[in-house]
């Protein structure tokens, strides 16, 4: 099978986000960038699929030059090839990202595409379904289990919904599968893997050559930090006294129960 994995490089989730002085973005100073956690799961599922049925795994990422590191991480984990779409000079949103990705993906003839359910930076959760729409493929999102059929023409997929429930789908391939935590535990890149990754093929394309007159639909006008919560108060005393006081405050002061 030809397996595609869409990844994004994002700030490590331990990052304390700060806003740039001009308010037009986040301050990148000191940020450590990593493969978005859900996309790591997508890479792992691509590799597991290849191990089971054979084929190749291609990691695709749109972003600045630094996201070549993220692609190399995927290659070090075991992917075969990388495609980097350099976004220099192009302002992208989910729509334009999906549009550009789709224009590259449609030439690759993938049998299945794995993507994280959302990127752990902008949390939009749009690129997977939008790519599916642009390619004319079905999609299943928030997937925590996938089982390919014998003929590799389809899969049974479990999608996580609210309240701990799961929806079970029959999906025919090719399809976009947006993955959720719990699907697998991503492997670490081994040292030999890291060495090998350096010589694996990596194609670089330019987003500017692929926009085809399209532009972003959503514009970000303002970045800010959430308002600081006002200083709270510690209720002091024995639990037997403090608990009724808390209940009283929740009813009479906060009015939430």
């Amino acid at each position: 099978m030809k397996i595609g994995v869409l990844i994004k490089q994002v700030p490590d989730t331990a990052t304390n986000i700060k806003i740039a002085a001009n308010g037009a973005g986040i301050d990148p100073t000191g940020i450590k960038y990593v493969v978005s956690p859900y996309d790591e799961i997508a890479i792992e599922e691509g590799l597991k699929t290849k191990e089971k049925v054979g084929g190749e795994v291609v990691v695709v990422s749109l972003g600045p030059v630094r996201c070549v590191e993220a692609i190399r991480t995927g290659l070090a984990m075991g992917a075969d090839k990388g495609i980097h779409i350099d976004d220099a000079g192009v302002v992208v949103d989910s729509y334009l990202t999906a549009r550009i990705l789709a224009s590259v993906l449609e030439k690759e003839n993938f049998d299945i595409l794995f993507v994280g359910k959302q990127a752990a930076d902008n949390d939009c959760a749009q690129v997977g379904p939008m790519v599916a729409e642009f390619l004319g493929w079905p999609q299943v999102t928030v997937v925590e289990k996938i089982e390919l059929n014998e003929a590799r023409s389809g899969a049974v997929v479990a999608r996580r919904v609210g309240g701990g429930a799961k929806e079970i789908y029959d999906v025919s391939l090719p399809a976009v599968i947006a993955v959720e935590k719990g699907l697998n535990n991503p492997r670490y890149a081994s040292l030999p893997g890291i060495m090998k990754a350096k010589s694996k093929p990596l194609t670089t394309l330019k987003a500017a050559d692929l926009v085809g007159g399209e532009k972003a639909r959503v514009e970000v006008t303002h970045y800010r930090l959430p308002p600081e919560r006002p200083e709270g108060r510690i209720l002091k005393g024995e639990a037997e006294q403090v608990v009724p006081e808390l209940v009283r405050l929740l009813r009479e002061e906060a009015k939430v129960i």
């Binding site: 752990a120 949390d123 939008m130 510690i234 403090v242």
Partner: protein, 323 residues
Amino acid sequence: MGNVLILTEHQNGHLKKVSFELASKASELASHMGGEVQAVVIGSHVAGVSDLGKYGVKKIFTLFEASLEKYNTENYAAILSHIIQEHRPDIVLAVAGPMGKDLLPRVAARLKTGLMTDCTDLKMEGGKLVATRPIYAGKAFVDVKIPESTPQMATIRPNSFPIHERGGGAQVIPVVIQLGETRARMKEVVQGAHQGVDLTEAEVVVAGGRSLKSAENFKLLEELANVLGGAVGASRAAVDSGYVSHDIQVGQTGKTVNPKLYIACGISGAIQHLAGMRTSKVIVAINKDPEAPIFKKADYGIVEDLFRVVPLLTKELKKVLAE
């Protein structure tokens, strides 16, 4: 012109409360533009759809068919796109839940327009919808808009807007669309071990951390959540320790919650966790470590062992709420 279309959600044949939240906010936006609110209800059978009229909806487009009992991306996308192309609303709003997050990007791509996901506030500015949405799971916020393409589409986080009754009635308009074969078909829904209120829609969340020490002890939190009609959540530490499943993890790489009341029990307050619950209206922290960062975010804190406080709190609430 200036109309706002909402995609409603329902469960067990009844509209969900979040549908009325959408209708209420949509009415406010439509009145700024001199337009009306229109609603879409898709399913097999939903009772009381005309209730939407009370919250300002004027037209209700319904499509009820046995085959639509279960959600299906391709069919639902075809229906919603069809209705939007037919009625040309300026704004389309849906719920940022399992369905809206799956469906709306697909529809936006089809209509070649933009989508603003998981918004916590909406306002009209210069005739355009300006949405506020969290990024980095709530560590920062952005204002976003869709300056050129239409409709302007947004998904809304549950519990973001109050419900306002305005009175008035709505016209119910059945829609007829030829539906095709689909390539992703839902076969069944498997209910989880802990049924009940969905974490992301819950008005009260009781969450536990590693100090719960076992899966068994999470029952204490369930009892407290039950008294308040709430849901149980957990920190990543509790999930990684195997006490609860990851689908109730609150925080970055987990769920982002927006309840009226968040009770954090034995949670220290890692930056990723705080990101996922900081929009809670009132936060209560119970932790025996007075230095726990969670106390800096809490409205009310109790520095004490959760195993002492939680059972007392459950008992006290039972007593008070029974009065």
